[in-house]
């Protein structure tokens, strides 16, 4: 089988929860050997759902499952006096270290950047924290909500007389994880080409402040013109802009009036739309006409299903998307025929279907070669690869350093 582009790369992974694990998942799914150090109780994401068949358990978390494919798990209490030697041995064999411990924790254990750089001068280390290692908020904690509200564009999402509203689940943390992977890949590139090891101080807040989801634009818009970006008074009601009801759900449109001929084609050239007033430039900026248009459009939408509307929009090249629910998406043939979904065989859970590749790289493909690891599944295996003898491993085990 053709290997991934990161074949031969060993990642020492001290990340937890969502952002860090998503970063190292990308490395693992594209071919790297990712050695995940878990604390004795396991990555905290093993303690949250959704649970397989509703039953909690460290090997039954959907969150852990998704974010940890292809990794190997080594359980190590990094606070234990014997742990330092183990981590250092792992560092000597790694090509990159990625960690998301609270800022300063690894330094206090003698395992921070200073130690890494004294062990090796060609080993990059990426530290993923909420605000970075050098910030007045260095010790502050975040959740997806706190992070997105502070540094992302949440303030302008929602309606005026209500509170701002966040994205689904832990989306802002996944955004950060994907950005961190980009930084980590660049650090690995510099190490491979120039032999340079370095510390990448990755602040999730900084990655959100710079986010391409309008925050970049809202920031400079204020700097340029002194104008803020606020929440809308109510549902978007442009000349086809916003979420509209239809016969079996909802469809979302954007700016269709900018190209009236396409809109006309989508609607089947109705008589009412042939009036010259609809074809003037800037028609979408005239409130009365927008309102009149929407009154004419709504009955058309309510007579049709979202798939039918989207098919007409696709044909006419109108910006549109139906609001699918997750079950509809799982059953949708476009994605299944393209091979988007993957299945993984798991010891305890059997065959599991999950979202697959984020992108297709034909010459060096994404693949799932291993299910997410059981807690400590690879402790002995990895230690043996690092040259620990069976008796040394036994000693580490009885001292409580490993599990």
């Amino acid at each position: 089988m053709t290997s991934g582009p990161l074949d031969g790369v060993t990642v020492l992974d001290l990340t937890e929860h969502i952002a860090g694990p998503y970063c190292t998942k990308l490395f693992a799914d594209f071919g790297a050997d990712v050695i995940k150090i878990e604390p004795p109780g396991g990555d905290p994401s093993r303690s949250v759902g959704p649970w397989h068949q509703g039953t909690p358990g460290p090997e039954r978390s959907g969150t852990f499952f998704y974010f940890n494919t292809n990794k190997r798990s080594l359980v190590l209490d990094i606070e234990h006096p014997d742990a330092k030697a183990v981590v250092e041995r792992l560092m000597r064999r790694a090509h990159i270290v990625v960690e998301s411990q609270p800022a300063g924790r690894l330094d206090a254990l003698g395992l921070g950047w200073r130690r890494v750089s004294s062990l090796r001068d060609d080993l990059p280390m990426v530290s993923i924290t909420p605000f970075g290692h050098d910030s007045p908020y260095r010790d502050y904690q975040v959740s997806d909500l706190v992070l997105y509200g502070f540094a992302g564009e949440m303030y302008s999402i929602g309606v005026q007389d209500r509170e701002p509203v966040k994205m689904y689940g832990t989306a802002s943390l996944v955004e950060c994880g994907s950005a961190a992977a980009t930084g980590a890949m660049a650090a690995l590139t510099a190490a491979e080409l120039q032999g340079v090891g370095q510390h990448v101080d990755f602040s999730m807040a900084d990655a959100q402040f710079n986010g391409v989801d309008r925050r970049h634009a809202a920031t400079i818009g204020f700097e340029f013109a002194g104008r803020r970006s606020l929440r809308a008074p109510g549902p978007a009601a442009g000349m086809l802009a916003g979420v509209y009801p239809c016969a079996d759900g909802y469809v979302e449109f954007s700016g269709a009036a900018i190209r009236i001929p396409r809109l006309n084609e989508m609607l089947g050239s109705p008589d009412w739309l042939q009036d010259d007033k609809w074809w003037q430039p800037g028609v979408n900026l005239i409130p009365d006409l927008v309102e009149e248009f929407n009154a004419m459009f709504l009955p058309w939408a309510l007579e049709r299903g979202k798939r039918e509307i989207w098919a007409a929009a696709r044909e006419a090249k109108v910006l549109c998307g139906p609001l699918f629910s997750v079950d509809e998406l799982f059953e949708d043939s476009h994605f299944s025929d393209r091979g988007f979904w993957s299945t993984v065989e798991h010891d305890e859970l059997g065959e599991v279907k999950l979202p697959g590749r984020p992108l297709i790289m034909p010459a060096s493909p994404w693949s799932i070669r291993r299910p997410p690891p059981r807690l400590g599944q690879h402790t002995d295996e990895v230690l043996a690869e690092c040259g620990f003898s069976a008796s040394e491993i036994f000693k580490l085990s009885t001292s409580g350093a490993i599990g």
Partner: protein, 441 residues
């Protein structure tokens, strides 16, 4: 020591945000990114909604959409539209009329001198103007090509036109977010799909360049933006996969069922005429943090209820807790609340609107922006800097936001090796310049 991607040249044919974010990251990391633009073709939503917005249009509207410098269109509005200008840093720009044989010849010469190409146009666009994969491979066999169609290059949705918000609707995100108590038509557009697609795209190009170093082989990467957004919905997908459960909207509450977890009203200095509209986020992720919140609030009687000691109890009483906490926060300053709560170990922060970012102590301390002069002497403004902190190969703004055609001289002369006479001919035949056709509105 050089920047991580020093010596890598990337052709940038991107539009709107997803693709341009990918090329921004590559540029930040040291690649020489050359935007290839056409003065005769207006790409909507890439250098602005319109090439020449009216003075009236740029005086009104939200900052992010129409907040041009000093609320004026300026001499060349396409160089400073707020919606896009932050994605022009560290990039070069050349112009060439790609819809002509001569333009394609010039472009082929650039491809031969480049390592990668990034594009996110509607499916079929490159093929239509004759610069599809075959053309590219012929010009440079080991080129890494990143294409970012919305739904992929095959299947029934391949020609669907989409922005980030549409593909997120299709992937299920839109029905999973927003106010649980309001109709879905109240859901605001977001573009998180652009964020992850851009970041994955930059990651993919670097990974494919590694593959090229090892094998000599280039490749065509296909990043379907819809599929790339899947990770953001992981919990919802896994719940359906494991249990057949279709999750509903949870608003600002925790997907993991931690409580309390919400936004609460607050105040801030200089509230001004808008009457406030200030919010503090608070997330209690475990029982210790609940104790921290109690302490921060002065341990009020209601919070001592033993039922609230465990998350389960707090989740049951989430509405009630929200009302109590809101009473406490409503009269307090949002930054002071953050410092107080965080000092008790509780994740919390103000919800910052765009007017408060530059003054935040974290933003100032980490110097997240830097002043640069815009082209045409339109003014000096503070732009975002690259957000990665590399200790040995520090990143920065090597070039302020690039104007259309600003680097024609460099690209035509130094990269492509054309002579003065040839260049004069290209100017005459409409390849080289710094202004869109006057007929373009």
């Amino acid at each position: 020591m050089s920047l991580p991607l020093a010596g890598i040249r990337v052709i940038d044919l991107t539009v709107v945000w997803a693709g341009t974010f990918a090329s921004t990251l590559l540029a930040d990391l040291g690649a020489e990114v050359i935007k290839v633009e056409n003065m005769h073709v207006w790409q909507p939503m890439t250098r602005g909604g319109q090439a020449r917005p009216s003075p009236a249009l740029v005086k009104a509207g939200a900052g992010w959409a129409t907040g041009y410098p000093n609320s004026e269109p300026g001499p060349r509005p396409w160089n400073y539209c707020p919606t896009f200008v932050q994605q022009y840093r560290n990039k070069h720009s050349m112009t060439v009329d790609l819809v002509s044989d001569e333009g394609r010849e010039i472009f082929a010469r650039l491809v031969a001198e480049s390592d990668a190409l990034v594009e996110n146009n509607a499916s079929g666009t490159l093929e239509k103007i004759g610069i599809g994969p075959d053309f590219l491979r012929q010009a440079r066999e080991d080129l890494v090509v990143l294409r970012m169609p919305a739904y992929g290059s095959d299947g029934p949705y391949r020609f669907a036109r989409a922005l980030g918000v549409h593909l997120e609707s299709v992937m299920g995100h839109t029905l999973l977010r927003g106010y649980p108590d309001l109709d879905p038509s109240y859901i605001t557009s977001i573009f998180s799909g652009d964020y992850v697609a851009g970041a994955h795209g930059a990651f993919a190009v670097m990974s494919a360049l590694r593959h090229r170093r090892r094998t000599g082989e280039g490749q065509l990467i296909e990043l379907a933006q819809a599929e790339c957004a899947g990770g953001m919905l992981a919990q919802a997908f896994m719940d359906f996969s494991f249990n057949g459960v279709v999750q509903g909207r949870t608003g600002n509450r925790s997907v993991d069922g931690f409580a309390p977890y919400n936004l609460y009203p607050a105040r801030s200095e200089g509230d001004g005429a808008d009457g406030g509209d200030r919010w503090i986020s608070i997330s209690v992720l475990d029982d210790d943090q609940w104790l921290g919140l109690r302490e921060a609030m002065g341990d009020p009687e209601w919070a001592r209820d033993p039922e609230l000691r465990r998350n389960e109890g707090r989740l049951t009483h989430h509405d009630e807790l929200d009302a109590r906490i809101a009473e406490w926060t409503a009269t307090r300053d949002d930054y002071e609340l953050m410092h107080l709560l965080q000092s008790h170990g509780v994740p919390a922060a103000p919800v910052l609107d765009s007017s408060r970012i530059y003054d935040d102590p974290h933003v100032e301390h980490r110097q997240l922006n830097e002043a640069h002069e815009l082209y045409d002497g339109v003014g000096t403004f503070r732009f975002n800097k690259p957000f990665f902190r590399f200790s040995e190969t520090p990143l920065g703004i090597r070039k302020p936001p690039v104007a259309l055609g600003e680097d024609n001289d460099y690209v035509y002369r130094e990269v492509l090796g054309y002579s003065d006479d040839e260049i004069a001919g290209f100017v005459e035949r409409g390849h080289i310049g710094m202004d869109y056709d006057p007929e373009i509105p």
